[in-house]
């Protein structure tokens, strides 16, 4: 009998096993709709290590057997945008180069359109196959590589990312390269530099926080945002309670917005997030129908906020992250 205590030290205890105690069958959920993608869904493996968007391992939230890998949601998004085959080819190339589960993917949703970003980590420049040149070469047949000659000689960032949209996937268009430098300003902080015509330009500054223990720092960090404005509900305008129950929180300062990232949310929280930020209904429905099968996963989600008048910040972009 599983008696789950939601908080330590509270006498509150929920008995989440009434069906089990009574020996009765649980109410069966309705059959999920077919996936958007044509490709067979990838099942989860019980022995694989799950990693978050900084490739930190995390334990499965429940028994992964019978579940689905997070990459299925990525492929669903490719299918929704009409670039399933193209997107899958990119993923397969990266897996062949780096291994399964070693690439972080992000799906971005802004102005009604989806785009994607793929992140490759190479802390300490220890993995030749993960260097920018190797990744771009591997993908060169599928994506027009950025002009790496504009990078400083010998530059070896902590992480790099390639941002793609459907057109780039479909037509072998250009990917936008961003490089991330770890450890700037304080332990755990990062900066990103986007590669432009003039070389690298500072893009974003990130700091990471424990959502439970770093309350004061977190409040100060969010209050310092120029995009918080005079929000009537204070920092809650950016620190959403529904996803605050997460493992790690990141605050980012960007050129035209400030971002908040919640790391380690569960699938129910992800479903809430997609609804809250207005993601395409077919993708949200695909996730919703597979909540149980994704239930072992932890996800990372993020929002860009920009000040809109006196009413406080509004969402200009949202994103979800996992590994493939």
């Amino acid at each position: 009998v599983a008696i789950v205590t939601p908080r330590r030290h509270l006498e509150i205890a929920r008995i989440d096993a009434l069906d089990q105690l009574l020996g009765r069958a649980p109410v069966a959920p309705p059959a999920p709709p077919p996936p958007l993608a044509h490709r067979a869904e990838e099942p989860a493996r019980a022995d694989e290590v799950l990693r978050d968007y900084v490739l930190a391992p995390y334990p499965p939230r429940r028994d992964p057997r019978g579940g689905l890998r997070a990459v299925n949601l990525l492929i669903e998004s490719f299918a929704l945008a009409g670039v399933e085959a193209e997107g899958v080819r990119v993923i397969e190339r990266l897996r062949a180069l780096l291994g399964v589960g070693r690439t972080v993917w992000g799906i971005k949703h802004a102005a009604g359109a989806l785009s994607w970003e793929l992140y490759v980590y190479d802390p300490g420049a220890a993995r030749p196959e993960a260097r920018i040149e190797a990744v771009c070469t591997t993908l060169a047949e599928l994506i027009a590589p950025p002009d790496l000659a504009r990078l400083p000689p010998g530059f070896a960032p902590h992480m790099m990312s390639l941002e793609l949209d459907a057109a780039a996937l479909r037509d072998r268009g250009a990917a936008h390269l961003t490089c991330y430098v770890h450890g700037a300003d304080e332990p755990g902080a990062s900066r990103s530099y986007a590669l432009g015509p003039d070389g690298l330009r500072l893009a974003n500054l990130y700091t990471f926080h424990d959502p439970r223990r770093d309350a004061r720092a977190l409040i100060a960090r969010v209050r310092s945002s120029v995009h918080l404005g005079a929000a009537a509900i204070g920092v809650a305008a950016m620190l959403w309670p529904e996803v605050h129950r997460c493992r790690r929180l990141c605050v980012a300062n960007k050129r035209a917005a400030d971002g908040v990232y919640w790391s380690g949310v569960d699938t129910d929280q992800l479903a809430w997030f997609l609804a809250k930020t207005g993601w395409p209904a077919p993708l949200a429905a695909s996730l919703d129908a597979r909540r149980t099968r994704y239930g072992h996963l932890a996800w990372d989600v993020g929002v860009d906020f920009a000040l809109a008048g006196a009413g406080g910040p509004t969402v200009t972009k949202s994103a979800i992250y996992a590994t493939c």
Binding site: L10, I12, D19, P57, R212, R213, A232, G234, P241
Partner: protein, 763 residues
């Protein structure tokens, strides 16, 4: 720290206990219908038709199941309005049939209790407690809430009937926008109608996530009313519990708050939509961690925010000094001729008019002798200045701020003036003492300077005035405490102990574990495995001056931490083999166990060890034998079992610890313990499978010291006694904690670290 004074006391001494608190409670929810339609209620909207209730047959089986009922002393029957359910008598009988049950309570709106002697019949059936909804103090307000004209009269009649029947009455009031201004009157009414206790519940927006009903009330607006209600209850000696309302807003009534609830037996699907609560400060608030202040509902935060300015986490600040903050310009201390008078009081331009009376009866006539100072390092100097809001090298009233020093009980500030040819001006900050002469007094500090010449005093006057004004404004009651030296961390204590042991033994000085590179390793590991500071402890291997180590305890018990998951994540980070995962998981199946993982920090992934403190008779006996033979140079004796590369190793770094002549003393009992390995394995089936691991190493291949050696408290007492530290032994003897580690010897103090202390420090 939360306020300690209880403010609500049990009214019925004959009852022997607060009727709200004793025993374990089980709540059965089975009837989702009601004859009222209270505006805040979710039963009809949120339960009926959505969830399968607990049928009588279900209840019969559940209440016969000892997994649910063992130790249960109270069963609560809830709906809906359970008096509408014709099977209520049968439910009551089932509840009464549970052997351990002392109380059967029903939750009711009381409107039917006066009908046909229902209250008396319920009592006859075995109900002894009635949890009665009372949401307003007058008919107009109450009937508006229940949406049933005339219902208030029925409620009062029901309360009277319940009292006449002899049942204990506990009232229940939902605090919402509709009734928040009546809370004190409701409490008074409850008392007048015979209630023996009351509960005030913050509104739970269960089916109204966006608060479309506009029933949420801002906690800062509600707090005065809630406190007034608690004061009314206090005046009537009526016990009140406040639920789902931030404890930190209750002032001296904070101890009335508790979100504890009975275990609820309800359809599993119910929990999927259960309202979520949280608080930005829950990770640092003692109330959230210790005993369950839930914070604010998500719906509340969406409407009003986190209330980050209004909520005050318990334990984050020291209790406030109740004394008023008075800036007082005294007679100049250390000016012998004016120590009690005021002729030399400088006329600081911004000095307040009020002057603390300097003529306290016991005020000393003589001034304190200048206090000795201790040099402090740059980091501590910067910290002290930061606490005081000062910056090294910056100017204050024309004087440059120099590095401070510590005095016996405070801090000495130093200022370099432009014309100072000699020593800097020194000003002492000491904890506030009303009897002490000083030139200024803040909330918690006395400001004192040594005797100066009149000319020097005149020159310093602007500085003194500026400093007094600055510190007075800054001292909100916690400045003296903030200036105290920080107690050495476990890391520092361990490093110091190891360093002193090395010095004692004549070994090369060990690497300082606080070195920057080492610290970077610690940070990396913490970040990689999301570990808290207290779970990664840098140290050096005793007797190995060139080897850095990290002792990681991912299994430390801490609120909100899944020990097994955190341990698994760490082992994954370290690329530990699968069998080590299995071993750790099975070991932690017992909640009383913890483990440590040692990492060679210089190359994080080179070697991973698992330290399993093994409390059993054999290891205790072995430890006792070793203790009896311990030499002064010996840091610790062993009790730890170390699994390395598949081998089970009981070890003692006696070769490094003791001079050659002493090795034999250690070797005997050590080898005896090693020879008992079979017995140890026999007692530890968990480890037995590892004996045949292909990479098993011989027992003498690795000799290390684990200062976290004592698994049982008595060993800590024995060790402290052996060290001659009888005070420590006495202190430990009074504890029930588990010993984490022990260090020391007869040439120095004995330090015994308790696991409970570690856990406390991580909260």
């Amino acid at each position: 720290m939360p306020p300690a004074e209880p403010i609500v006391r049990v009214r019925r001494p004959d009852a022997g206990a607060n009727p709200l608190r004793p025993g374990r409670e089980l709540l059965l929810s089975f009837a989702f219908r009601c004859n009222f339609a209270c505006t805040f209620c979710y039963v009809e909207d949120g339960l009926a038709g959505r969830y399968r209730g607990v049928s009588l047959e279900d209840a019969r089986r559940l209440l016969a199941d000892p997994r649910l009922t063992e130790g249960v002393t109270r069963i609560v029957l809830s709906g809906g309005e359970v008096t509408l359910d014709r099977e209520l008598p049968a439910f009551i009988a089932l509840a009464r049939a549970v052997p351990s049950v002392a109380h059967v309570r029903i939750q009711t709106n009381a409107s039917r209790l006066a009908d046909d002697g229902l209250a008396a019949r319920l009592v006859d059936l075995g109900v002894d407690e009635l949890f009665v909804s009372l949401h307003a103090a007058d008919a107009a307000r109450s009937d508006a809430i229940t949406q049933r004209p005339g219902s208030f009269a029925a409620i009062l009649a029901g309360l009277d009937a319940a009292r006449a029947a002899g049942a204990a009455i506990i009232t229940n009031t939902v605090v919402c926008a509709t009734n928040v201004d009546q809370l004190a009157a409701i409490i008074a009414l409850a008392h007048d109608r015979g209630a023996q206790a009351a509960e005030l519940w913050g509104y739970v927006p269960r089916v109204d996530a966006d608060d479309a009903r506009r029933l949420l009330v801002r906690v800062t607006d509600a707090a005065p009313h809630v406190r007034a209600a608690l004061a009314a209850a206090e005046a009537r000696a009526l016990p009140v519990t406040v639920k789902y309302f931030p404890r930190c807003l209750l002032g001296r009534f904070a101890s009335a708050q508790s979100d504890a609830q009975p275990r609820l037996v309800i359809d599993d699907a119910f929990w999927k939509s259960y309202p979520q609560y949280g608080c930005l400060y829950e990770g640092v608030c003692a109330a959230a961690v210790a005993d369950g202040c839930s914070g604010l509902s998500d719906a509340y935060v969406r409407r009003f925010g986190w209330e980050e300015d209004a909520l005050r986490p318990f334990g984050e600040d020291a209790p406030r000094d109740p004394a008023p903050v008075i800036a007082a310009y005294h007679s100049w201390a250390h000016a012998p001729t004016t120590s009690r008078g005021a002729p030399d009081t400088p006329d600081a331009p911004d000095a307040p008019d009020t002057i603390d009376a300097p003529d306290a009866p016991d005020a000393p006539d003589t001034i304190d002798a200048p206090t000795a100072t201790d040099a402090i390092d740059a980091g501590e100097a910067a910290r002290l200045l930061a606490v005081l809001g000062l910056v090294h090298g910056a100017a204050l009233a024309g004087a440059r701020i120099a590095a401070p020093a510590r005095t016996v009980d405070g801090v000495r500030l130093r200022f370099i003036t432009g014309d100072a040819a000699g020593a800097p001006l020194a000003i002492d900050l000491r904890p506030r003492d009303p009897a002490r002469p000083c030139f200024a007094r803040t909330a918690t500090l006395d400001l004192i300077h040594p005797p100066w010449t009149d000319a020097a005093t005149a020159r310093a006057r602007p500085l003194l005035a500026a400093l007094a004004s600055h510190l007075t404004a800054r001292d909100d009651g916690g400045l003296a405490r903030a200036l105290r030296p920080s107690p050495p961390s476990a890391e520092v204590r361990r490093a110091d102990t190891i360093a002193s042991t090395h010095a004692h033994a004549g070994w090369p000085a060990p690497v300082d574990p606080r070195a920057a590179e080492f610290h970077a390793c610690v940070l990396a590991l913490r970040a990689a495995a999301h570990l808290g500071p207290a779970t990664v402890e840098p140290s050096v291997a005793l007797g190995r001056p060139d080897e850095w180590r990290l002792l990681v305890n991912p299994s430390v018990r801490r609120a909100g931490v899944d020990r097994a998951a955190q341990t698994g994540a760490l082992l994954t980070t370290l690329d530990a083999p699968g069998w080590l995962h299995d071993l750790a998981r099975r070991w932690l199946d017992d909640a009383g166990r913890s483990l440590f993982i040692g990492v060679a920090a210089a190359a994080l992934r080179v070697r991973t060890k698992l330290y399993l403190p093994v409390p059993n008779a054999t290891t205790r006996a072995a430890a006792a034998a070793l203790l009896a033979r311990a030499t002064p140079a010996a840091e610790v004796a062993i009790v730890a079992i170390d699994v390395e590369g598949g081998a089970l190793i009981a070890h003692k770094d006696y070769a490094r610890l003791a001079p050659t002549a002493a090795r034999a003393e250690f070797a005997g009992p050590l080898l005896a313990l090693v020879e008992e390995r079979g017995l140890l394995l026999g007692e530890l089936p968990l480890l037995r499978a590892r004996r045949s691991a292909p990479d098993e190493q011989p027992i003498d291949a690795a000799l290390h010291v684990d200062v976290r050696a004592f698994p049982q408290l008595e060993l800590g007492v024995a060790w402290a006694t052996a060290c001659g530290d009888h005070a420590a032994a006495a202190r430990l003897a009074g504890r029930t904690a588990r010993v984490l580690s022990a260090t020391g010897g007869d040439r120095g103090p004995c330090h015994v670290y308790l696991a409970d202390d570690l856990e406390e420090s991580t909260r």
